[in-house]
């Protein structure tokens, strides 16, 4: 157990919102039943190796994006690409986009002899950068707002008209993207703005979470439990006020066809159930839950009658609140493994 706790703490060592030590990991896992603790550590060690993104991983990802754009758009170097690219900066101060743009700026200075103040001298494309697309609601609202805002370049013309009429690509880059949410955001943008948005918008990501159970052969590299007919779990589901899409609550036992993220199908079934049951137990201590998007396996769309998105992707600067709540809940007699960033800021208080 001790070795596994150390190994996990070592992987997570650059997490920015709390110190990761073997003791901290051990303390966290000790909140589960004793017979499950060693198993949980083994399985999380297996998962974190694949889906924890350290700061240096993140820098590498940005560098690979920059280098592939230079090739794709046929520039001689990154500096000349940056000069003709505008980065959309639409989120408030404490949100991820600003911080990621700051990080990108540092990378530009350190490796490419340029910086973001030199961007957008002439605009040939726009880039929207963010860490995680989950339900798609945030991307939809950000881009819908941005597209409808008046363009800086031509008075009386919206960004949508300007990019559409000049065929300027809007590249959306996420470190991690859920396919279910991506489709939702894309279709809503098409409906709200017009079909031409399809020609200018492209959404790309470094890591994809294929979480729509109804898609073709999805990887389901998130937590979505099988239905083991546990009355405790069904009771939770039946008491939700949400009524939409109950068929997305469970995955069929034969899916995914091939297990890629968890160490085995048996381990998957076991840890999903453990986290779900523990999450329900924590929520049961809350009393009245004011934010109806909160579910045992993480935030989701409030109308969905499901257990949450079950995201298993973590970055050095924060983890999505769509991750199972056992990872981040910090109240009601539960101590988190990852302290969330911006706790206490309006709307982010997990209560």
């Amino acid at each position: 157990m001790r070795e596994k706790s150390s190994a996990i703490a070592n992987i997570l060592r650059d997490y920015e919102n709390n110190v990761m030590t073997a003791d901290h990991v051990h303390d966290w896992v000790s909140q589960f039943d004793q017979e499950d603790q060693d198993f949980i550590l083994s399985e999380l060690l297996h998962i974190f190796k694949q889906t924890y993104l350290s700061k240096s991983d993140c820098k590498k990802f940005f560098q690979s994006c920059l280098e592939s754009w230079v090739k794709e758009f046929k520039y001689k170097d990154v500096a000349s690409f940056i000069a003709e690219t505008s980065f959309i900066d639409i989120q408030p101060e404490y949100k991820s986009q600003k911080e990621l743009l700051d990080l990108l700026n540092k990378i530009l200075i350190e490796h490419y002899n340029c910086n973001l103040t030199q961007s957008a001298e002439r605009i040939k494309r726009y880039i929207y950068l963010d860490d995680v697309l989950s339900t798609g609601s945030k991307l939809f609202s950000d881009l819908d707002t941005w597209f409808k805002t008046e363009s800086d370049l031509t008075q009386g013309i919206s960004n949508y008209q300007y990019t559409r009429d000049n065929q300027l690509p809007v590249l959306v880059i996420f470190i991690c993207c859920h396919t279910w949410g991506k489709g939702n955001a894309e279709f809503r943008l098409i409906k709200n703005l017009g079909i031409e948005v399809k020609k200018i918008l492209s959404i790309k990501a470094g890591y994809w979470i294929e979480n729509n159970v109804k898609d073709y052969n999805p990887k389901l590299n998130n937590m979505i439990p099988i239905d083991n007919q546990d009355p405790y779990i069904h009771n939770y589901l039946n008491n939700l006020a949400a009524v939409d899409k109950p068929e997305y609550a469970f995955r069929p036992p034969q899916k995914p066809v091939e297990e890629k993220l968890f160490s085995s199908l048996a381990s998957r079934n076991r840890i999903e159930t453990l986290f779900l049951v523990k999450g329900i137990e924590i929520l049961s201590r809350v009393g009245e839950l004011k934010v109806s998007q909160i579910r045992p396996l993480g935030y989701t769309i409030k109308s969905h009658k499901t257990f949450g998105l079950g995201t298993l992707f973590f970055t050095f600067r924060n983890i999505p609140n769509n991750c199972p709540i056992v990872f981040w809940w910090a109240n009601n007699n539960w101590r988190p493994l990852f302290v969330l960033k911006n706790r206490g800021i309006r709307g982010n208080e997990p209560k």
């Binding site: 989950s134 609601s137 489709g183 159970v213 073709y216 052969n217 409030k302 309006r346 709307g347």
Partner: protein
């Protein structure tokens, strides 16, 4: 295609609304238009043609996926041809119902564009001009005459009559009661217009949280 002679119609070109190429007048009514993606089972389907062709193989997810991932409706149709021997055995019996269902989804999810367009056709016959397909469309048989079953045109006329003229917007399209009518191994339930899922998320309330 083997059109049933009794169901064939003759149309006078001067008196009807004709659609054929997607960029021409009323081209929006063609299944080959890529301007009307559909949202089914929370998946974006690039065109009505792709959905129709995919349902021909409703117990064969691999073929469905290959059809649906094509951005071009014409390519989707060509891919579908490759799998013809694997079609549902009852396909010829159900294909008209399937086409109607697909078109209802298209009308429902793109009502703001298609309903006004259908109103513009007044009460004229709507005919899909084709060079060879006399089942879904009609072909020229004389200087000014089109002949064919014109199933697609007649479906549009029926939808116009039933929904558009009364401004009776289709909110949700009911599932077809056809055995094994599945997309990627999942039954297809009610398919609703975009307002259904946009409003159900209550956007404004979720903006302040990080999702």
């Amino acid at each position: 295609m083997n059109p049933n002679k009794e169901k064939m119609r003759l149309y006078n070109c001067d008196e009807v609304i004709i659609f054929s190429k997607t960029n021409d007048l009323f081209g929006e009514l063609s299944n080959m238009s890529s301007s009307f993606p559909l949202y089914v089972n929370d998946l974006v389907i690039p065109s009505s043609e792709a959905l129709y062709q995919a349902m021909r193989y409703s117990l064969f997810p691999k073929a469905q996926n290959e059809i649906i991932k094509q951005a071009s409706p014409m390519t989707a149709k060509m891919i579908s041809k490759k799998y013809t021997p694997y079609s549902r055995q009852d396909w010829e019996l159900i294909k008209l119902r399937v086409m109607r269902w697909v078109m209802e989804i298209k009308l429902s999810q793109h009502w703001n564009i298609l309903a006004p367009l259908l109103l513009k056709t007044e009460n004229k016959a709507i005919v899909e001009l084709s060079f060879k397909d006399q089942f879904w469309g009609a072909k020229k048989v004389g200087n000014n005459t089109l002949e064919g079953t014109n199933a697609l045109g007649r479906l549009w006329m029926d939808l116009r009559e039933r929904y558009v003229i009364n401004n009776n917007k289709i909110k949700c399209v009911a599932p077809l009661t056809i055995a094994g009518f599945r997309l990627y191994d999942y039954d297809i339930n009610f398919i609703c217009d975009e307002n259904y899922f946009i409003n159900s998320e209550q956007m404004k309330n979720t903006l302040s949280v990080n999702i």
